[in-house]
Amino acid sequence: MSDIDGRHLRLLEAILFASAEAVSERELAARLPEEADLEELLRELQAAYAGRGVNLAKAGRSWAFRTAPDLAALFTRETEVARRLSRAAVETLAVIAYHQPVTRPEIEEIRGVGLSKGTLDTLFEAGWVRPKGRRRTPGRPVTWGTTDEFLDYFGLEGLGDLPGMDELKAAGLLDARPALDAYPMPGGPAANANADAEDAAADGDLDADEQPEPLEPGGDG
């Protein structure tokens, strides 16, 4: 505590307080003097606000001041209409959150039905999901994952805090195990969806390190 520069702490507090949206650590670092120890400052600030009416909340690699969740009941008057999501959208969001990074065919395979047009669009526009990278499988399909905004919206510190994550993992329900259509089903909504899934999911993370060819973009080396 003694090694914390009070001016840095005040500045950090002001920056975070001034913003309605969660601010990424990258951006915070850029706004603080170089010598500031961001990690330590954030920890300190979070502790200072613990138990108050306003808390410093972490969402992935972003931070924001938010009213304390337990005060929710007292705020009914301020409440804006929460976004209503269709059942398909909620389910799709859950699949992306728990299975990310996940490709569109994989989402369809898990849900057992094709993804109707606006569903991903809606989630993307809401800022909750985004393309994360590409699978190193034939066709190099785009994978989808959730954003810090998603975490912020649902008050999650990280993906590990997703409700039931541990049990689901333990029960093997998040495995990229092929289900139905690995077996000879003539056709079916997602008959070919699974073709890539197996090794695809094996490599797990988005292939951040290698991303050559844009499919369309005519980058012409």
Binding site: F65, R66, P69, F75, R84, Y98, E125, R177, G188
Partner: protein, 277 residues
């Protein structure tokens, strides 16, 4: 985006508790959804369901829908066929075929699929039950920006970027649209292609090996399957080849009848458009 709400209401009607089953397939998102609903009827705990019983329930569901003269999407029928097949695999002793999964494996795959979907539904519900920003948790109401100097910082989101590109491509394409013929495999083409190779088929071979080569990447394979299958039926009718299928939904084999080759080239007596130059 709100469509799902309507679905939900209809759905409740589709899973009644009494025997007067209100058949309303509109309420379901697809065969898997029906299966999950049936499984829930059977047991609260989806891990405990009997797949055999579930298959029966599904087949019963489908027959009720058809009795009510409602149209069923192909997906539902495909699932019915698959479940009938699964049922036979579960009831009959294992055929011992190496490369095919056993009935139990198939049943387990289905059970897994249902459990996983159920888990995702629950997860979605739990997610939506969390305190949410803007409803239960509030952000800073008066964000502050400092406007002392006016160096502009431009803002745009990835969504806007991609949307803009999509929009403008559509606009420009729309102006100079060239409609290209839909790529599909016509019956005539399939006949022609099958006649061409007919002479060489001296032993039973899987029909699917004779899908014409060189199809464009966008040709729907179903179209190719359907046309080739129909063409094989036509050629069988003409007595040029024989077809064989050992099990329901099993692979289809074909073989040329003795005289196959001679008729191959110019014989255009087939019905339909074969007369087209």
């Amino acid at each position: 985006m709100e469509v799902g709400e309507e679905f939900e209401e209809a759905r409740l009607m589709g899973v009644p508790e009494d025997s007067r089953f209100v058949v309303d397939i509109e309420g379901y998102e697809g065969p898997i959804d029906v299966l999950l609903a049936l499984a829930r009827e059977q047991k609260v705990d989806v891990t405990q369901i009997s797949i055999l019983q579930l298959a029966d329930q599904y087949l019963e569901f489908v027959s009720r829908v058809r009795r009510a003269n409602l149209e069923l999407a192909a997906d539902y029928l495909v699932m019915a066929a698959w479940l009938a097949y699964l049922k036979s695999r579960l009831l009959l002793p294992d055929s011992g075929a190496e490369d095919e999964p056993s009935g139990e494996e198939m049943a387990e795959a289905l059970a897994f699929q249902l459990r996983r979907l159920e888990a995702m539904r629950e997860a979605g519900a739990r997610l939506m039950a969390r305190p949410r920003l803007g409803r239960d948790v509030l952000a800073r109401g008066a964000p502050e920006r400092f406007t002392a100097t006016t160096r502009p910082v431009y803002e745009a989101t990835l969504f806007e970027l991609l949307k803009a590109y999509g929009d403008q491509r559509r606009r420009v394409e729309g102006r100079t649209l060239h409609i290209e013929p839909t790529e599909y495999l016509s019956m005539e083409e399939a006949l022609r292609s099958l006649r061409g190779v007919l002479g060489g088929i001296t032993d039973w071979e899987s029909l699917w090996r004779f899908l014409p080569a060189g199809l464009g990447p966008d040709t729907p394979s179903r179209s190719a399957f359907a046309s080739t299958f129909a063409a094989s039926l036509e050629l069988a009718r003409e007595g040029k080849l024989k077809l064989r299928q050992d099990t329901a939904f099993g692979p289809i084999y074909l073989r040329a009848t003795g005289a196959g080759r001679g008729a191959g080239g110019g014989n255009d007596e087939g019905p339909g458009g074969n007369g087209e130059p």
